[in-house]
Symmetry: C2
Subunit: 334 residues, 2 copies
DNA sequence: GTGAAAGCGCTAACAT
DNA sequence: ATGTTAGCGCTTTCAC
C-alpha cells in the first residue's frame, strides 16, 4: 500500500527489474552496452508500472527544459492563432514544448510573462507581441526571436515582406481606378512597413495619403464604432481602403453594405493576412496573404540554432531581418 | 570569470548576502522569522544578480509544476483560439502555466501529446480535442477536464447548452418560413447534441431532416468543395441551413452568392459559435453564440479544484456535465 | 533568528 | 556489461 498515487521512479523500475537505477537510465537513453535480456527485463518493468520518465528531473540535471515560450497578443485572432499552431508544430517536431502566453498587446502583461518564462527556465523565446518593447528584453539571458517585430538590433526578426505587401495592395487599388485610397492600420509611423509601401505607391502616383488608425487591441463594440465613424467622416473623400488586417477590411465592407454602397464599384477594399479562417469566412475579400507557415518555421529554425549553439555571448552582433514574400489574392472587393 | 552564462542560484545570492541558502529560501518564500536587515540584504543581493528562482528545481521538490496541458484541435480556428486565450488567462490568474498542444483532430497526435504531458508532470489536463477518444485517458493518473467532449463518466465535461442551441437555430429557420432546413455538421450521431436539437424541432414540425456531414479537419480547398457539392446536389430540396459552426455557415452563404441566390430570401442560414473574430468578419451572420469565457473559466475551476484536492482516487464517481446557456444573435441571413 | 544536512528523480563520471 | 557516487537548485526537517 506504500507510495499510493506517487508516480513510479527509475528506482521503482530498477527494483522490479532487479537491476540498478543506472541500468534503467541506460535503457531509457539507449546508451552504453546492455545485454538484450537486461533491456527486455527493464522494458517490461517499465510497461508494468506504466513508467514515464520525469522530464522535470531531467531538466534540472541537464540544464535545459526543451520548452520554448511563445508570447503573442492573442491567439483568438486568426493570424496569431495560425502562427501559434505553426510554431507549436515546428517546435514539437524538434522535440520542444510550447508554453503559450497571450499578452493582449499590453506591456505590463508581457513583462510578467517574460519574468515567469525566465523562472521556468525555458530554453528560448519567440515573441510576436504587438506593443511597445519592454526594457527586460535588453537584459534577458534567453535566446529570443521575434515575429514581425523589431525589438533590438541583435534580436533576429522574421516577417513577411510587409513593404512589398503594402505596395501590392495599394497598386492594385490605383490600377483599379481609385483616386483616393485610404490606409486603415493600427499604428502609423516609420516602423509600419505596410504603410511605407502604401506611401511609396501614392507618392509615385502623386496622391495624398489618407491614414486612419485604430489602436491594436481596441475591444470590439468600440473598434467597429471607430471604423464606422472614420468612414462616415471620410465617405466623400475616399474611394478605396487598404486595411492592414482582414478583420478591419471586413468591417469596412460591412459599413459599405449597411450604408448602401456597392463594393467594389463605390468602394474598393484590400485586406492583409489571408489566414485560412478568413479565407473561409470571407472568400470574396481581396487580400495580401502572409506565408505564416514559412515565417513560423524560420523563426523556430533560427531560435533552435541559437539555443543549440549555447546562445553564447557572441558580442551580440546585429542581425538582418528575414523576410518572406507575400501573395496577392484577388477576390470580389477590387 | 567563473560560471559565465550560468543562471545565479540561491547559493550565489546567499554568498553575496553573507547568509546561508536556507535564509535566502526563507526570504523568497516569506516563511519563518527573519530580521529586517537580513531580508533587505538578501533582497538587494537578488536584485544585484538579477536572480530568478528556478521553478524547475521547485517543481522537482514540490511534486507539482503549476503547469496545465491544454489539448485542442487547432487554435487556428477562432473558436479554439478564443478557448485557448480564456483558459490561459484563467490559469495564469491562478498561478498556472499553459502548455499548448494542437492535435489537429488526430488521435495519434493526441496520444503522443498526452504521454508527453505526463512526462512533463503537468498538474492536470484540459482537453477539447475533436476526435475519437484514446484508451490512454482511462489509465492516466492526471486530473482531466474536457470542453465540449464526453470522454468518460468520471471525467468532468463543460460545454455550451448544445441541445438548446440546436433547437433555437432550427426553430428560427422554421419560424422564418423554412420548410426544408438542412443540417451541416462534422460528425452526425447520437452524441451530437446540436443535431439532437435540430431533430427535435423538425420532428415536432413534422419535417424530414436533411443532414450533410463534412469531417472535422478536412483541409481547406477540399472542405469548400464538399460543401459546394452538397449544396449543388440539394439545391432544390432545401431552403435553409443550420451549420454547426460559423465557418461552414459562411461557406454556405458564399455558395449562395456565387450561384446567384439571395440570402435570406432564397436560402436562410444560421451558424454556431459566435466568436469575436467571426462577429467582426461576418457581422451579418445569424448565429448561436457560445459563452466561451464562462465555459473556459468553469473548466479551469473544476480542474484546479481536483488538482488541489490531490485528485485522490475517490472511486471515480460519475459527474454530470456542466452546461452554459447560448445566445441567439440574429443577423441578416435569416 | 539562522544554519547544516538530506533528498526530490535523474544521469555523468568513475569504478569494476 | 553493470553498479556506486555525486550533484542539478531548491525546501524542509532538525539543530543551535
Amino acid at each position: 500500500m506504500a507510495r499510493q498515487g506517487r508516480e513510479p521512479t527509475i528506482a521503482d523500475v530498477a527494483a522490479l527489474a532487479g537491476v540498478s537505477p543506472t541500468t534503467v537510465s541506460r535503457v531509457l537513453n539507449n546508451r552504453g552496452y546492455l545485454s538484450q535480456s537486461t533491456k527486455d527485463g527493464v522494458a517490461q518493468a517499465m510497461a508494468e508500472l506504466h513508467y514515464r520518465p520525469n522530464e522535470v528531473a531531467r531538466a534540472l540535471l541537464g540544464q535545459r527544459t526543451r520548452t520554448v515560450g511563445v508570447i503573442l497578443p492573442t491567439v483568438a485572432l486568426p493570424f496569431f492563432g495560425e502562427v501559434a499552431v505553426s510554431l507549436e508544430h515546428a517546435l514539437a517536431e524538434r522535440g520542444y514544448r510550447t508554453l503559450l502566453c497571450n499578452s493582449l498587446g499590453r506591456s505590463e502583461i508581457e513583462r510578467d510573462y517574460l519574468l515567469q518564462l525566465e523562472s521556468n527556465r525555458v530554453d528560448g523565446l519567440i515573441s510576436g507581441a504587438h506593443n511597445d518593447s519592454i526594457p527586460e528584453y535588453a537584459t534577458t539571458r534567453l535566446p529570443v526571436v521575434t515575429i514581425d517585430r523589431e525589438l533590438a538590433d541583435h534580436i533576429p526578426n522574421v516577417r513577411a515582406d510587409n513593404t512589398t505587401g503594402g505596395r501590392m495592395a495599394t497598386e492594385l487599388l490605383v490600377q483599379r481606378g481609385c483616386r483616393r485610397p485610404a490606409l486603415f492600420t493600427s499604428t502609423s509611423g516609420p516602423r509600419n512597413l505596410r504603410e511605407a509601401g502604401y506611401r511609396a505607391v501614392l507618392a509615385a502616383a502623386g496622391i495624398e495619403p489618407t491614414i486612419v488608425t485604430v489602436a491594436f487591441g481596441t475591444p470590439e463594440p468600440e473598434r467597429t464604432r471607430l471604423i464606422d465613424a472614420a468612414l462616415d467622416r471620410l465617405r466623400d473623400q475616399i474611394d478605396g481602403v487598404f486595411a492592414t488586417d482582414d478583420l478591419t477590411a471586413c468591417a469596412v465592407v460591412d459599413w459599405a453594405r449597411r450604408t448602401g454602397r456597392k463594393v467594389p464599384d463605390d468602394l474598393r477594399v484590400v485586406g492583409f493576412d489571408g489566414t485560412n479562417a478568413l479565407r473561409a469566412a470571407a472568400p470574396w475579400l481581396t487580400t495580401v496573404q502572409q506565408p505564416i507557415r514559412q515565417i513560423s518555421r524560420a523563426a523556430v529554425e533560427v531560435l533552435l540554432e541559437r539555443i543549440e549553439a549555447g546562445s553564447g555571448d557572441d558580442g551580440r552582433p546585429a542581425v538582418a531581418p528575414v523576410e518572406f514574400p507575400v501573395t496577392l489574392i484577388e477576390g470580389a472587393t477590387t
